[in-house]
Structures are given as C-alpha cells and as structure tokens.
C-alpha cells in the first residue's frame, strides 16, 4: 500500500465515523456539525483521487452553503443546547432499512460499473479545464436539465414563501414603518 492509499483509508474511517455520529447524536446542532466533518472528509477523498476541482466545489457548495443554510434553519427553529428527545420521530428502524437498501444498491452499481477501470494517481485527472470541456461537450444535456430543475425549485420556493396573507402583512408593516419614519422626521 502506498502512503496515498493509507491516508485514503484513514480519512474514509473518519468520514464513516462522523456520518454515524451525525445520525446517532441526540443533539440537533451537533448532527449538523458532524455532517461538516463527514462532508469535509469527502472533499479530502476527492483530493486524494486527484479530482481537485470537484473537491473545492464540494467545500464551496456543501460546507460553505448547504451546512450554513442547515444551521441557519436550525437556529430559526428551537435548537436547544443539549439533547432534544422530542425531535425523534420513531422512524429509526424504517430509516435504517431504507439507508441500508440504498447503500447496497449504490455499492452494487458502482462496483458493477467501474470494476474494471483504474486511474493512475501520479498525475492529476480532475483539473478544471478537462472537467469543463467534458461537461460542456459530452454532458451538456444533463447539465441543462439540472439547470432547469434548479430553476424550477427556485421559482417554487419563491411561490411557496410568497403566500397572499404574508404579502399583505408585509405591506402593512412597511406602511407602518414608513409612517413612523415620516412622523419622526416631521
């Protein structure tokens, strides 16, 4: 085993441990923070596989945005310090079954698809130039389909958050505030 492989295995164990802690911890915010460790570890794995571009995208999107959004949401709700037993829905066995099934399906798929392909780790494979070229030449259709999907999700989020009642209340509040401000100036 080379040094790279040893590090790969160690980081893999850390990622697995963090992921398990993430779903077993009884403290909500701790779960989000364990998720940070797991996702960050995955970025290191990408780096070890010489996929530099994917690694930085992983850090930018998942650590910098998704987890921050998660924490933001948790803080807007009640996220007390210490265990929150009322957050347990009792779906644990079902969730375990689903996750085991999807993990088995994924592993089987990856093993079946890439059993015979190997990459040489002594030169970079995931530089931004080649990634961009293959993305915008061979994979441009899935890329565009994903863009449309994201756009639809975006529009949907705006529609859901702008219900009629909400709008009126915001307008009222703005009017009140403007009134106060004008009163203060006058």
């Amino acid at each position: 085993m080379t040094g790279q492989e040893v590090v790969f295995v160690i980081v893999g164990v850390v990622v697995l441990g963090a992921a398990v802690r993430c779903v077993t911890t009884r403290e909500l915010v701790h779960a989000a923070l364990w998720l940070v460790v797991a996702l960050g570890g995955l970025a290191v794995q990408y780096l070890l596989l010489t996929a530099e571009f994917v690694a930085w995208v992983q850090v930018l999107i998942y650590l910098g945005s998704v987890v921050v959004l998660l924490l933001f949401g948790l803080m807007l709700t009640r996220a007390p310090i210490g265990p929150s037993p009322d957050a347990d829905s009792g779906n644990r066995p079902v969730a375990l079954a689903v996750s085991l099934a999807s993990a088995a399906a994924l592993v089987a798929l990856v093993v079946d698809a890439f059993r015979t392909s190997w990459i040489e780790l002594d030169r970079p494979h995931g530089e931004s130039g080649p990634v961009g070229e293959s993305l915008f030449q061979n994979w441009v259709l899935p890329f565009e389909a994903l863009s449309v999907l994201l756009l639809a999700a975006l529009v949907g989020a705006i529609v859901v958050s702008r219900t009629r009642g909400n709008e009126q209340r915001t307008e009222q509040r703005t009017e009140q505030r403007d009134g106060q401000r004008n009163g203060g100036v006058g």
Binding site: W56, V59, L63, G64, S65, L71, A79, S128
Partner: protein, 320 residues
C-alpha cells in the same frame, strides 16, 4: 519540490499571517485616531504609542478564558479556531510576485480561495449558537443571513475575471492580465470589494455585531485569547479580501519593474485597499440588517450579472 522549498514557503505564509493582520490593526488605531481628530493611546512604547498593540496582546493573554455555564462547552471552545484557520489556509494560494512567488499554485485557485473563506462563517455560527445567549444567537443569525446574501455577488464578480482570463488559477489570471482589464472589470471589482467588506462584517455592514443593539453579536460571551482570535480573524480577513481584490482586479504584482519589485506592488495594492476598508469604518454609519439584505439582492447581484454580460460580450468581440 524538495522539503526545504516547502518549508520556506510554509514559513513565509506563516510570517505573513502573523504580521500583516497586526499591521492592519495598528494602522486602524492610528488612521481612525487621526481621521476623528483624537489622539488615541499615545503612551505605550514612547513614540506615538507604537507598542499599544503589544500591550493589548499581553492584556488578552492575561485575561481569564471563561465559558458560560449554560454553553455547549466543546463547540464554544472550538469556534474561534474554525473562524481563524480558513484565513491562514487561503494565504497559501495568493500569489505575491511573478515566477512562482506563491505558497502553492492551484489549478482551481479562485474556487479554493472562495470555498475555504466560506468555511469561516461556521465559526461565527458555532460561537453564536453555543454561547446560550440570545444576543449571540441573534448575531449569528444576522451573520448567516448576511453571508448567504453576499456570497453570490462575490462569486459572480470573481467568475467574471475567470471568464476574462480563461482560467481559474490565480497565478494564471495574473499571467493573462493586461492594464485595460482594470476599467473593463471595474464594476466587478467594486462589487467584489463591497461584498468582501460585508462578508467580513466590517462597517458599514456590521449589523451582526452592532454594539448598540446586540452587544457584540456572536462574540458577546468570549473573553481572553479566544476573543482575540475572533478579532485577529477580522484583521486577517481584511488582508485576504484586499489581497484578493488586488490580484483579481488590480493586476496583483503587475507594475513598473515588476520582475524585481513585483512583491512590493502587490503589498502596496493590498495596503491601499486595507486603508480603504479602515476609511469606510470611519466614514459611514451602520446599515440596518434589512438595508444590508436589500443592497445585496437589488444592487450588487444585478451589477455583478451586468459585469458578467459585459465580460462575455467583450471576450467574444476580442477573440472573434
């Protein structure tokens, strides 16, 4: 790359990380004092109170490091490190001069820098939540909302430069740089610098730590060295944002005699931009939290998109 070379590069980055933020801090003391027509601390060290920063450091080290009784102890203690370390890591990728005067050449340098900078937010969020203090939580909420709003213009304006240069590498961008990029990318540069200012929560974007409203936001419960780490993160952030603006929009080490004096040009540009950051603190009153949001989404994002369109058009015209 042999071991000695790596060691020298790491040492230089460490020295820059330890010295430049303190220089900016000291400059801020003096510049603010002069702009506001007051003396400030003048006694420590004799000449103009130059040793005040050292005295401050000693004071921070002597103070008791307290953790509130209701706090989440481990997260509370870990937060300052999470806030500070990303800035150290980012410095590795910022080129100081031509011919490989950079800690490490990265193929996707812009991505690396912006991605790692985004991780620093987690420190503020962890601090705000773990303090078990409602002012801290409010500060953390404002921080998160502000950072999410300003991440977008920051990325878009950086993308414009990457489009212009045709590469994501910071050294590659400087290699392609021409003087007329400065007027061409001017709007993007202003957007980038402003968004960077907001990411650092510097005035006028300092609603997350507004002392008159929420004491000191996420850092309210901190004391001693851990508090000093948060302050150091702010000054290191000024250095990093100024240096990045200089590299992306002002040509970094380009200038007369750049073969010998490239590093000096880079430091001068970074210093001038840091001065602007300090000046902004003295010159502008604080924006309200909702004004900060509105400014990001209705002014900076459209401007950044317009810059990208302009970059695209000119790029096609020039190459075609």
């Amino acid at each position: 790359m042999d071991v000695l070379d790596v060691a020298v590069r790491v040492a230089v980055v460490m020295v820059a990380f330890l010295v430049l933020p303190l220089l900016v801090g000291q400059t801020e003391h003096k510049v603010m004092a002069h702009m506001q027509g007051r003396l400030g601390p003048m006694h420590a060290g004799g000449f103009h109170g130059w040793a005040q920063l050292v005295a401050d450091g000693v004071k921070f080290a002597q103070k008791e490091d307290t953790v509130p009784a209701g706090a989440d102890r481990r997260v509370f203690q870990l937060a300052p490190a999470v806030a500070l370390i990303p800035y150290l890591v980012v410095l590795v990728a910022i080129p100081l001069g031509p011919d490989g005067m950079v800690g490490q050449v990265l193929d996707a340098g812009i991505f690396f820098v912006l991605a790692v900078l985004g991780v620093g937010v987690l420190g503020s969020l962890m601090a705000g939540w773990a303090s078990a203090n409602k002012y801290s939580l409010l500060g953390a909420l404002r921080t998160a909302a502000q950072l999410m709003a300003y991440e977008l213009p920051l990325l878009l304006s950086a993308a414009s430069v990457a489009m212009a240069a045709g590469t994501l590498s910071l050294t590659g961008i400087l290699g392609e740089f021409e003087w007329w990029w400065v007027p061409w990318q001017l709007v993007g540069g202003v957007v980038f610098f402003t968004a960077g200012l907001a990411e650092l929560q510097r005035p006028p974007f300092d609603a997350p730590i507004a002392p008159e409203e929420i004491i000191f936001g996420a850092y309210t419960e901190y004391s001693g060295l851990r508090f000093a780490f948060f302050l150091l993160a702010e000054y290191a952030g000024i250095v990093v944002v100024s240096a990045l603006t200089a590299v992306l929009f002002l040509g970094g080490w380009h200038g007369p005699m750049s073969d010998q004096l490239g590093w000096l040009w880079m430091l001068l540009k970074t210093g001038a931009l840091s001065f602007l950051v300090i000046w902004a603190r003295v010159a502008w009153p604080r924006l309200r939290a909702d004004q900060i949001q509105k400014f990001a989404w209705t002014v900076l994002v459209p401007l950044a998109l317009a810059q990208i369109a302009l970059t695209g058009v000119i790029k096609v015209v020039v190459s075609g």
